[in-house]
Point group: C2
Chain length 86, copies 2
């Protein structure tokens, strides 16, 4: 069974995010008021082949913890849905 996956990697709460801070500081000058709390992370999309959703989720959790994130400063949120058969 194949699943379409989105892994959102984001800076943990309290960890500084210079890229987000820079965007947030610049926006009022550029004419965009009212945008706050800007945080920049990564969006990783992939496809995974696994027997069921629980197994796919476990493999992705492990993958995130070992390679895709730095658990000291980053969190990962995994969302997935079964791929529609073609």
């Amino acid at each position: 069974m194949q699943f379409d996956v989105l892994i959102e990697v984001r800076p943990r709460q309290g960890i500084s995010d210079p890229e987000g801070a820079t965007i947030e500081r610049s926006l009022p000058t550029l004419g965009y008021d009212g945008v706050t709390s800007v945080r920049v992370g990564k969006a990783i999309r992939c496809t995974i082949e696994a027997e069921d959703e629980a197994l796919a989720h476990a493999e992705l959790e492990d993958l995130c913890a070992r390679f895709l994130t730095n658990p000291v400063i980053e969190d990962a949120a995994i969302s997935m849905q079964p791929q529609v058969e073609r």
Copy 2:
């Protein structure tokens, strides 16, 4: 009215994504089979203050096209939900 926003910036279809390709190539060696089509983009989270959802969406579209993405090589997907009152 305040909205929690997620902007997913991803490489357009057909545009090469060296970071995603490198991850995909490494995974089988690291013991993860069955993960394919890896694409790495950005996940930008923010809060926007606007009168209604349509106005917020229009401002974000404009912001994405002008500053947050390079429309030649990147697409943006905006999702948002009203913030729960505290």
